[in-house]
Each structure stands twice: as structure tokens, then as C-alpha cells.
């Protein structure tokens, strides 16, 4: 039985990785042909980069999760598939049309509904060291709240070449390891495609990016992460692994004091030096973001900033895995 799961884990990981690895170059060509490109303001000369990469990310997720579902049908996998697909549609709409700041949170809340309708959740919230609380009514609100939070959090960290996909690799593999630690093997296998899809997409998204994920890519990754956290009963562990991105959203919201789209910000938190390094702005009106804080110590290249965020992701991943071990300890 265990050997079957190992073979299935290898199979879905390979499908997830190679689906994205093979389809992304085709998607890049299609987007370039249709002139669906955006300017990369942080690159010398402002290269035009194809966007969105969401379709190839979704292909990888659906191909691998449907394969898993064929071998091992469960409402949890179905809930992951439907929620992630709806989040992708929300992202695609946002990629094509500039919508208000409230559109995404509300639309993503709707994408969480299949998890509730399919009953793919357990209304217990587990905490490290202290056990769990049973919150049947409140948990439904938590499900509705969690998908918009994870979706928008990943979307908000997608500001530099390769950052969102590399951050997602680290966070999702931390989640997979944590699911194995708490012996939730079925969802651990279902979580593997997220890490491998992110890994394959990172090949094209890393500096200098050949494609941007766009809202459709970032929301798809974020919503799947949130859905896995709920169906795998690892909500707190998932939140810990996501802390650098949560900090980014927290800093942004606490400085602008309302929910708005990044494109609606008039003052950019980051500017450039003469040699095109990134530099924190001195504009008091500009929002505080994670990148602005990192740059407060002095100008850095885009690659260097990305590496600091990567190290923060690794640190949070370690804390998440420690939290998973602490789930088995009661005081």
C-alpha cells in the first residue's frame, strides 16, 4: 500500500513538472504573437515580457491532480481541483481587465465555496503544543477567509523576477514535509504537484524572466496552497510557512490603510539608482512593502533582493516544519 503511494507520488510529481516545463515555452510564443506582453520596469531598457503564465500552471495542476483522482478518488482532491480552477478564472479576468480592489477578495471567497459544499474540511483548528479547538460555525468563515488571503498574499509578493514561484517552491515543499510529519499521507501526495509546478515554472520565471505568472498564475498557486491547508488540516503550519508574504501584505495594508490594487498606488515604493539597482524611495506617500524594507539598508540588484526573500522563505519553512513536529507534543 505504501509502495503504491510512493509510485503515485513520483508519477504525479513528474506529470506536474513536465506539463509546465513543456507547455510554458508554447505559451510564451502564443503570448508574444498576440502581443500580450508587459514592460519589466526593473530591467535596463525595459524589456517586454509575456504575461500571464497562469494557463501553463493550471495545466500542470489539473493534469497531475486528475491523475491522482483517477487512482484515488476523494472529495479533498476534487475540492482542490475546483477551488484552484475557479481562482484561475478570477485571475484571468483580473489579467484582462483592471478591476477594483475588492473584486479579487470577494471572487476568491466564492472559489472557497466548493470546499464547504463537498464537506472537504474538518472543523478542528489544531495548534502546536496545546491541542485543538472545535469551531463548527467559525470554521466555515475561516475557509471563506483563507482562500482570498493565501491567493492575494502570493499575488502581492509577485513583484520581482522569479520571487513568487521560488517562494512557492519553498512554502509548498515545507507544507508537504509537514503533512508527512503529521501522517496525513494522502494530502501530502496531493500537495506535491504544487511544488513541482512552481519548480518547473521557476525555470522560465527566474531572473531575467521570460514570462510573468500574472494574477491568474499567482492566484492559482495561492488558492491551491490555501485549499491544501484546509483539506490537510494544517492551517497554522501553512500560515507559518507563508509568513514573509503575510508580512508584505501586513506592511502594505497597515501603510495604505485600505484594500486597493497595487496598480492603484500612485507612489512607487522602489526606485532605481543610476546603475539600475533597486533603491527604497524617500517618498513619504509610498506604501511600506517587504522589498522597500529590504532595500532600506541600501541599494541592491533585483537578484540580491530576490535572494533575501528566498532566505526569509527558507527561515519560515524551517519554522513551519518545527511547528509540525510541535503538533505531536502536548503540554
Amino acid at each position: 500500500m505504501m509502495l503504491d503511494k510512493i509510485i503515485l507520488a513520483i508519477l504525479v510529481s513528474a506529470i506536474a513538472f513536465f506539463s509546465v516545463y513543456i507547455t510554458t515555452p508554447f505559451l510564451i510564443r502564443v503570448l508574444e504573437k498576440r502581443n500580450l506582453t508587459v514592460k519589466d520596469y526593473n530591467r535596463v531598457g525595459g524589456a517586454m515580457v509575456p504575461r500571464p503564465g497562469g494557463p501553463s500552471i493550471l495545466v500542470g495542476i489539473l493534469a497531475s491532480e486528475f491523475t491522482l483522482y483517477a487512482f484515488f478518488s476523494s472529495v479533498e482532491i476534487l475540492a482542490i481541483i475546483i477551488t484552484t480552477s475557479i481562482a484561475f478564472v478570477v485571475g484571468m479576468i483580473d489579467d484582462r481587465k483592471v478591476l477594483g480592489g475588492w473584486f479579487k477578495p470577494v471572487a476568491l471567497a466564492i472559489s472557497a465555496v466548493p470546499i464547504i459544499l463537498l464537506g472537504a474540511y474538518n472543523p478542528h483548528l489544531s495548534f502546536p503544543l496545546f491541542g485543538f479547538v472545535r469551531i463548527p460555525e467559525l470554521y466555515i468563515a475561516l475557509v471563506i477567509f483563507m482562500i482570498p488571503v493565501t491567493g492575494n498574499t502570493i499575488n502581492s509578493i509577485d513583484v520581482l523576477n522569479g520571487v513568487a514561484s521560488r517562494f512557492m517552491i519553498v512554502a509548498s515543499f515545507a507544507l508537504t514535509v509537514s503533512l508527512f510529519i503529521i501522517h496525513n499521507y494522502d494530502i501530502a501526495v496531493a500537495s506535491l504537484p504544487l511544488g513541482f509546478v512552481s519548480l518547473a515554472f521557476y525555470k522560465y520565471h527566474k531572473f531575467p524572466s521570460r514570462i510573468f505568472p500574472g494574477d491568474s498564475g499567482a492566484l492559482t498557486l495561492g488558492a491551491m496552497y490555501g485549499a491544501l491547508a484546509i483539506v490537510g488540516h494544517v492551517e497554522i503550519i501553512a500560515a507559518v510557512a507563508l509568513l514573509p508574504a503575510v508580512i508584505n501584505s501586513f506592511l502594505f495594508l497597515s501603510s495604505v490603510k485600505r484594500i486597493i490594487e497595487h496598480r492603484q498606488i500612485k507612489s512607487n515604493p522602489v526606485t532605481h539608482t543610476d546603475d539600475f539597482k533597486l533603491m527604497a524611495t524617500t517618498d513619504k506617500e509610498a506604501p511600506i512593502t517587504l522589498v522597500r524594507l529590504i532595500l532600506a539598508g541600501g541599494p541592491m540588484t533585483e537578484k540580491q533582493v530576490g535572494f533575501v526573500i528566498f532566505r526569509l522563505g527558507i527561515f519560515s519553512a524551517v519554522l513551519a516544519i518545527v511547528t509540525a513536529f510541535m503538533m505531536g507534543v502536548k503540554i
Partner: protein
């Protein structure tokens, strides 16, 4: 190390999550409301939800203060 304050902030957030969980499990969850007949379960959930929301507000307020303290120099820049 670049961004050491951010690592510290993440660590503080982690500690606050664990402490907050402890408060919920040990103090809020065992509370029960009796004596209101059919309204008992609704009142029980409502009061617990209210306490949880107050805790979240306190958590955000605390984080905001810690953020200002840790990033004092950076935010002034």
C-alpha cells in the same frame, strides 16, 4: 546579515501565533454558556467568535507596535 530585523519580525510573529493558539485552546474553548435554553449554542459560539475577533485585533495591534519598534530606522527612512 541583510534584513536581520525581518527575520526577527518573522520569529516574533511565530511566537505570537503559538501563544495565541494556547490562549484559544486553554481559555476560550473550554468556556460554556448555560441557562438560555435553545439560545445556549448560538450565544456560546457568538461569544467565542467575539473573543477570537478581539484577540485578532489585539494581535494585529501588537504586531503593528513591534513592527514600528523593530523597523524604527527603516520606516523613518
Amino acid at each position: 546579515m541583510k534584513g536581520i530585523q525581518i527575520f526577527l519580525f518573522i520569529f516574533v510573529m511565530w511566537i505570537l501565533i503559538i501563544v495565541g493558539g494556547g490562549l484559544l485552546v486553554l481559555i476560550v474553548a473550554p468556556m460554556t454558556i448555560n441557562g438560555y435554553g435553545k439560545l445556549d449554542s448560538i450565544l456560546d459560539s457568538g461569544v467565542k467568535a467575539l473573543i477570537a475577533m478581539i484577540l485578532v485585533v489585539v494581535w494585529i495591534f501588537t504586531l503593528s507596535k513591534i513592527k514600528n519598534w523593530i523597523f524604527h530606522k527603516q520606516i523613518k527612512n
